[in-house]
Symmetry: C2
Subunit: 437 residues, 2 copies
């Protein structure tokens, strides 16, 4: 049992100012130490913030290595000399775990001055730096807001298997597993399963779970394991309904973060965009903008490339003051076999992407709900109908018209925090070369 505590409850650093002239216990990490003759100023850091502690007499002479874990007990006094307006005059200090010195990276700076690989190799240490730390508080808050918004719209959270017998997109880029001597794969997306849960009568479902892409490229926008925020709903008759839902959903997420992390975001210089109306253009119009404004020509039946996405976002940021833009009317050739063609425009699908600060963060749209239409589409995509039987069978017995979307959590988080690489938004990223920590 903890000896130093003397029955005095632990207080978080952010709450110390509520305890002026009272004795408190603090627990945390040694953030900075300044010896000044017979007095030592120690900055103690916990999950909530940093508090200055004053060590006098014998305590002032203790050797405390940076990042050691300690507990102190002392009196809270007012002072003009700290940002918080208080400091703690320590009368007991216990080292709970000594940290090795020197540290492999210098932590108590505003920005970590290290290469991304060094930052990721020393992930647990680098996450203690304020700016890096905040990323995962925000990521958690995004998921909370996503889930709360959807539960409020009568969605339930589902959990679908990640060990699967076939891929959602038709076989490419799958990691294979030895599953009791049967071939199996890691799911690329919960697409089929979320559709099946709509068919199972839940109508409105969401999932927050990892997806796996065995893509060999090593770009700033790809991870081989990432978290997909998926939703799917029944009795939807147009992509417009889904885009409206996503606009409201993102507005809720952005407002929640802006309100909840005002001070922290200000400290790291991040502004959360205000969402009014997200502009929407067709892929054809996007290509016209690229041609006329940026002299960039692209083929009519292809998707935008990363540079195209970046330029379209630049255009809408400058001309319409919007960091977000929907792109619609994707040709069937660039969409998966389950994408529903537009009525009266059978070469195009009733689907959309959402771009945010230069990158695609969402793909969504209506799905084919008619069994025969789905089988024909699988054949047209040169896939084997037999490979998809446990999915397609469901369409024989009452599949409602439906649609949905998926948001890449790390892309959204990294872009909100203005970081140039999606790896910064993964605590322990997995890429072609990185399997540890």
């Amino acid at each position: 049992m903890f000896k130093i505590n003397d029955g005095i409850s632990r207080v978080n650093c952010s709450d110390v100012m509520k305890h002026v002239n009272r004795k408190i216990t603090l627990c945390g990490w040694v953030h900075r130490v300044r010896h000044l003759g017979r007095i030592t100023f120690l900055q103690l850091r916990d999950r909530s913030g940093i508090i200055q502690c004053v060590l006098e007499n014998e305590l002032a002479e203790m050797k405390l290595s940076l990042e050691s874990v300690i507990s102190v007990q002392g009196l809270v006094v007012k002072t003009m000399k700290t940002d918080t307006g208080v400091e703690v005059i320590v009368d007991k200090l216990q080292v709970l775990n000594t940290a090795n010195a020197p540290l492999p990276i210098e932590l108590n700076q505003k920005e970590l001055d290290v290469h991304m690989d060094t930052l990721l190799n020393n992930r647990v240490l680098s996450l203690r730096n304020h700016k890096e730390h905040l990323m995962f508080n925000i990521k958690s808050a995004i998921v909370d807001a996503f889930s709360s918004f959807l539960r409020n719209e009568d969605f339930i959270q589902i959990f679908t298997p990640k060990i699967v017998a076939a891929g959602a997109e038709g076989g490419a880029n799958l990691f294979s597993i030895d599953y009791f001597n049967q071939p199996a794969y890691l799911g690329q997306s919960p697409q089929f399963y979320k559709q099946m849960m709509v068919a199972a009568g839940y109508e409105r479902v969401f999932e927050v779970a990892p997806v796996y892409r065995a893509e060999e490229h090593a770009t700033s926008r790809h991870l081989n394991e990432y978290i997909s925020l998926d939703l799917e709903m029944g009795f939807v008759f147009s992509s417009k309904e889904l885009m409206e839902l996503e606009e409201n959903l993102l507005r809720f997420i952005f407002n929640t973060i802006r309100d909840g992390y005002q001070k922290e975001l200000q400290e790291v210089g991040v502004t959360i965009p205000l969402i009014e109306r997200i502009p929407s253009i067709s892929l054809h119009e996007a290509k016209q903008i690229l041609a006329h404004e940026y002299h960039k020509s692209t083929s009519e039946m292809e998707d935008l490339d990363p540079e195209g996405e970046r330029l379209i976002c630049q255009y809408f940021s400058e001309k319409e003051n919007s960091e977000l833009v929907f792109i619609t009317h994707y040709p069937k050739t660039v969409r998966p076999m389950y994408a529903k063609p537009l009525e009266n425009h059978s070469l195009y699908t009733d689907s959309f992407d959402l771009l945010f600060k230069g990158i695609e963060i969402t793909t969504g749209g209506l799905r084919i709900h008619d069994y025969q239409e789905l089988i024909t589409s699988i054949e047209e995509n040169h896939l084997k109908v037999a490979d998809f039987e446990s999915y397609t069978n469901v369409f024989k017995y009452g599949m409602p018209p439906h649609g949905g979307l998926a948001i890449g959590l790390e892309r959204l988080t990294a872009k909100i925090m203005n970081r140039p690489n999606v790896r910064f938004a993964s605590a322990f990223p997995r890429d072609r070369h990185r399997l540890t920590p």
Copy 2:
């Protein structure tokens, strides 16, 4: 676009009684059809419930196969003849998707009279049955309550990789993956990563994510992929603190479900236990109870077997009216290398299990936080220190005293719903023989 709607918004079945004498639109599945000469009674089911619709004249003669997806428009009228007190006199009906007849299983019964394998093979259909359906509403509600409670206690939600370089328990029962020609595995537990996130200064973290166990047995209590509700917290000095947290957490979860699903749970005959104080006994005491009350002898340094767990639960249900019981003081020999030994009882660990209705639903406890102690423990467990470097390195630089626990979501859900097999609580279970749907 949907033609039948005429601008009249869709109403959920559960809300129809609020629209007496008004025209509404309903969307859903054909649950039951009764032709009575020139009138047809159609029960329409959506995610919220079932409403009786009345078809007259030509509409009465429509052939509607069960489970077809339809939309109807009509006038809500009061009636004494239905449970809901209302019915809808239909003037338009549109079939959105015809279901094949006959169905492979009969759905509109109170209980599905089919073998578990048939139920799981036809999962999307069987989930439309009311009793099966409710399971996943409850599972979603449990996760919501778990997350809400912990966020309120200042925990953040984390997402750790499931593709890993080594197993948490030391190498057994792992699924292997080909990861770009490197050997890799599916994570058995987020144990190491949640500890690392505590060390990263978040202090209080939780995760809701799949874990993978390549166990060959096919019992009613094991899945090869299941959802683990994990939490881990820093500055914890005794398992008692964790057990107290779990007691409050489960009380919150149980109360939330009881309040939120009163009517539904009553319909399927499920009562949610009231949690006052969860009794706690040592493993030694549990074995004495087994010996004296049930004449079951067990070896001193071993864990309880499934029959032992069942009998201990029976005992506490009968004697103390508690469906839950904590077991403490597990010997080091049955706990993993990271379990912290009890002060002054170095053969035992400061850890616990929680049993619920005959089955272990939680393992938790304090973890070793001292680097050297951890290395020694790894060696004593005959594991290779080098295999755990990216985990153990973290302990050199300021790891606080900490502990945590994990709850098996499917076990908890199945037990709450009084179902005898954990597979019923997995939408698409994975076991040795089941990789689809």
